[in-house]
Amino acid sequence: MSAEMLKGHLDNILLAVLEPGAAHGYAIIEAIRRRTGGRFDLPEGTIYPALHRLELAGLLASRWVEPPTGRKRRVYELTRDGTMALAARRESWSQFSGAVDALMGAPA
C-alpha cells in the first residue's frame, strides 16, 4: 500500500494503535507493522509529525520516560479527548468503508 494513501489515514491509525496504552515511536511503528501483517510499511519518521499534530490538538499527551536500564524515550498516550475522537472516527470509518465496499465489490 502506498505511503501517500496511508498518510490520509495516519491520524486514525495512530489513535487506534495507542488505544491499548502508552507507547513510544519505535513501538508504535512495530505495532502498525505487526497488526497489519507488514502491509503498512511507512518510512518510520512519518509518524512523528503526526504524533506532534495530534498532541497539539489535545488528542494525545506525551512525556519523556527514562527506564532504569535502557534508552530515554518519549511515550505517547491517548487523552480523554483522544479516546472520544477515536470512537467517533471509528464509527465514521465503519460507515465509509462499508459504503466503499458496496461500490467496489462485485458489479451489481
Binding site: 513510544h24 515511536g25 519505535y26 518510512p43 518510520e44 519518521g45 512519518t46 512523528y48 509529525p49 503526526a50 506532534h52 499534530r53 497539539l56 534508552r71 530515554k72 524515550r73 518519549r74
Partner: protein, 200 residues
C-alpha cells in the same frame, strides 16, 4: 554516536533553526528512535534510511507545529495591542497629555495615533489572511503590526517624558510596553521564518 547519525540530526537542526524548541525536540526524538533501531540490530545507515529523508520530514514537523506558532503570535499581538491602548490612555489621563501643545508634542501625538491605527490595520490584514486559510502569508503583516506599535509606544513615551519625565510611572509603563513589544517582535519574526519554511 556515528558520524552518519550526527550528520542526519544536523540536517534537522539546520532546517528547523527558526524554532529552537521544536528543533531540540525533533533531534531528541529522532536520536532516540534511531538509537532504538540500532539496539535492535540495524546499522546506523539502515536505521536512518528507514526513518526517511530529513528534507521531506522537516517540513512535516514544521507544518505540525505551525498552528501553535500562529496562536502564540496572534495572542502576543493582541496582548501588545491591549497593553499599548490601556497604558497610553493611562499616561494621557494622569499627565494630561491631551493639553500638551507645541509642534513636537503634536508630531508625537500624530505618530502615536498613526502607529496605533497602523498596528490595528496590519493586525486586520494578518487576521484576514488567517481567516481565508492563507496563514503562511500572515508573517509580513504581523511584522508590520509590531513595527507600527513600536513607533506608537516610542512616540507615546517621548510625549509623556516631555511632560513628566521624572515620574516613575512613565518608566514602569514604558518598561512593560517595551517588554511586550520585544516579545511580539520575537514572535512575529519567528512566525515569519516558520511560515516561509512551511510555504516552501
Amino acid at each position: 554516536m556515528s558520524a552518519a547519525l550526527e550528520r542526519y540530526l544536523s540536517e534537522y537542526d539546520r532546517a528547523l533553526a527558526f524554532d529552537p524548541a521544536l528543533a531540540r525536540r525533533v533531534r531528541e526524538e529522532v536520536e532516540a528512535h534511531i538509537g532504538e533501531a540500532i539496539d535492535y540490530g540495524r546499522t546506523p545507515e539502515d536505521a536512518i534510511a528507514r526513518f526517511g529523508r530529513a528534507s521531506a520530514l522537516a517540513p512535516d514537523f514544521a507544518r505540525a507545529a505551525f498552528p501553535a506558532r500562529l496562536r502564540a503570535t496572534f495572542h502576543s499581538g493582541l496582548a501588545m495591542l491591549a497593553a499599548t491602548f490601556v497604558l497610553m490612555r493611562l499616561r494621557s489621563i494622569l499627565f494630561a497629555l491631551g493639553q500638551a501643545d507645541g509642534r513636537v508634542a503634536d508630531t508625537l501625538t500624530l505618530v502615536d495615533r498613526a502607529g496605533f491605527a497602523g498596528g490595528i490595520a496590519f493586525g486586520l490584514v494578518a487576521w484576514n489572511r488567517i481567516y481565508r486559510g492563507d496563514a503562511t502569508r500572515a508573517g509580513p503583516p504581523f511584522l508590520g503590526a509590531a513595527g507600527a506599535l513600536a513607533a506608537s509606544v516610542a512616540a507615546s513615551l517621548a510625549r509623556a517624558a516631555g511632560v513628566a519625565g521624572g515620574d516613575p510611572l512613565i518608566w514602569a509603563t514604558g518598561a512593560v510596553e517595551c517588554a511586550l513589544i520585544l516579545l511580539f517582535l520575537r514572535h512575529a519574526a519567528r512566525f515569519n521564518r516558520h511560515a516561509s519554511f512551511v510555504a516552501g
